[in-house]
Amino acid sequence: MSNYHFEQALFQMKRLVEPRSVAIVGASGKIHKVGGAITRNALEGGYGGKIYLVNPNAKRIFGKRVYPNLEDIPNDVDVVEIVVSAPLVPMIMEQAVRKRVKGAIIISSGFAEVGRDELQNQVVRIAEKGGIRIIGPNCFGLINTELGLDLSFTFSKPLKGSIAFISQSGALCCGTLDWALQNEVGFSKFINLGNKCDLDETDALVYLKEDRQTKVIAIYLEGITDGRKLFEAINFVSKKKPVIILKAGVTEPGARAALSHTGSIAGHVEIVQGVLKQAGAILVEDVEELFDSIQVFSQPRSSGRNVAIISNAGGLAVLTADWCHKLGLSVPKLPSQTIEELQSFLPSIASPFNPIDMTGDADYERYKRVLKIVSETKAVDIIISIFVAQGLVTSDGPAKAIVELNNLSNKPLLAYMMGGNSVINGIRILHYGGVPVYSSAKRVSRAATKLVI
């Protein structure tokens, strides 16, 4: 990144995401308004740093002292979060410059997204004068679960985890948080970039690469401001941590003069996909696929594509093998030595090849034994273990066997549990045991492809 001040961006992002003190300008006690929801979340998050509330029209909010003006705060302020109407933002930014604030999160909308480019540019110019970096405007804020710092206005309080989420859309952030809570998926950092008048995905990526809490980075991307810069940032980060990208397919504004074949074929979507892949990103096409992919990275990545499928039902095993094949994975026949070993204890009606059908009465012991043998087979890179409730064995035993192997083996292991109420228990055991579990052959196979380097 030739013109990019890497160390500087890292330092400035760190101060924004890990501040020692935050002032909320436009703080409010009305929790059904953005200012109120932000104030409530900030105070309830368990953040150890200082939070100052600013509002000229209130004395106390939630029992906490309120300052009439940002400059009335007696101590240093690292970050100012601004929740006032758009025309007032330049004035607040001038105050922030005098207060020597380091970063600003501008929640307020009514800027470039509604055509008020000049107002946004004015804010940027003031920030540049004082060396303030900006997230937003028109955004939902940020969350740092490590510090218990919630500067968003969402209902859902995220669990601690290792997944960082960067989004241009605030609504998608809220929806994702809600989903994550229900599915008990934890996050490290949530950063909503809004209009990206200053900081963008590149800066967030540079920060998250170094963030120890973050193991996986998920990005929801709409517009791209500087493609080369983004490419280099992803290329730089994806070598260390998986970067999953959901790109909304905005079609190219203004048709390209199509004098050549290449010119007429080179649509925006195709170029973006090629470039992001080249940078080492993992591309997903929908929110569901994004969630499925986020979870699969509790497993190690794989340089091989050979999948072993272990199931208590032939039909689901074949269905999964079909999907694996369709998605570019291979389901090879196992070596004869492995087959013989499996045959020595499996029932005669079982199928010891690949996919392996252990038959409907396969219990904890049988899952455990087969999983162990298969995981020790060199020809196998990835294991998909399937369970469907058939009235003979409850889901907890097989799930325990899968989790136990997950703790022993360093091969990627995924589970597919089919059913409703009778597999809830098994799904919980797998989830807490760190094994990604899916509800269809397509989803488990697609998630497995994401692990392949």
């Binding site: 493609g227 080369r228 490419f231 390209r256 004098l259 050549s260 074949h261 290449t262 010119g263 080249q278």
Partner: protein
């Protein structure tokens, strides 16, 4: 270094010549000159100015040959009868020459004709397309796809930022559905993928090196079991620098 300077001068002369014509794309033979400078194999060919000149050219190149109209106004040559293939004798050259001129005066009477390109006819091989564009967001980007219906109907193409490595070019090829065909179906010999990745990286170099180039199109590039050749090419340049 000296030779690079010489090449640079030659290319500047081509670009200047194109602009002086008032167009922003290079003719086929000019585009191929640029490809040749980057060591991409192109068909043996010569621009003929009359029927006898065409026969002389064909005799030198060797039969069979192809005749193609060369006019800055005509982008899609075969659509208006500007291409005749499978020419085996001097007599056929003369007939083909006259036929193309006749087609032009019927279908594109206003088009200025620079001449007719006499070109070796290339044996059968794998037909692919390699191109490049300057994207407003990403800058120079290269494209690969299998020719014919694969590109036109199925849009079976892949893209990468330029410049790129041969390894990345190989991934591009592998990403397309047509890859299986290049590997050789039913006992057919595979395409020379090493040469093909070479061309993809070189096209990436051209668009990276030359800021005046907006689009490059090698279509078709015929890939053999060993080696390959650019049969048609087009380079589009900026109006001015």
């Amino acid at each position: 270094m000296e030779s690079q300077l010489k090449y640079r001068k030659r290319m500047d002369a081509i670009f200047k010549n194109v602009r002086s014509r008032g167009y922003k794309f290079l003719m086929e033979h000019e585009s191929k000159e640029v490809l040749k400078i980057y060591t991409i194999p192109t068909t043996r060919e010569r621009l003929a100015v009359d029927a006898n000149d065409a026969i002389k050219s064909a005799n030198t190149i060797g039969y069979p040959v192809v005749l193609k109209i060369c006019s800055p106004r005509i982008v899609h040559k075969s659509d208006i009868g500007g291409v005749i293939i499978g020419i085996h004798t001097p007599k056929e050259v003369k007939e083909a020459y006259r036929k193309i001129i006749k087609n032009m005066s019927a279908k594109a009477p206003e088009a200025k004709i620079l001449g007719i390109l006499v070109q070796e006819e290339v044996p059968k091989g794998f037909e692919v397309i390699v191109g490049a564009v300057r994207d407003p967001q990403f800058g120079p980007v290269v494209m690969f796809g299998l020719g014919g219906v694969f590109v036109e109907v199925l849009k079976d193409v892949s893209f990468r930022l330029a410049p790129l490595t041969k390894n990345e070019a190989f991934k591009m090829i592998k990403e397309t559905k047509g890859f299986k065909i290049l590997e050789g179906l039913r006992g057919e010999k595979p395409a020379d993928l090493n040469a093909l990745t070479g061309v993809i990286t070189k096209v990436g170099e051209i668009i990276t090196d030359l800021p005046e180039v907006m689009e490059i199109d090698i279509n078709p590039l015929i890939v053999f079991n060993k080696g390959l050749v650019a049969v048609d090419a087009r380079i589009i340049i900026k109006d001015r620098l």
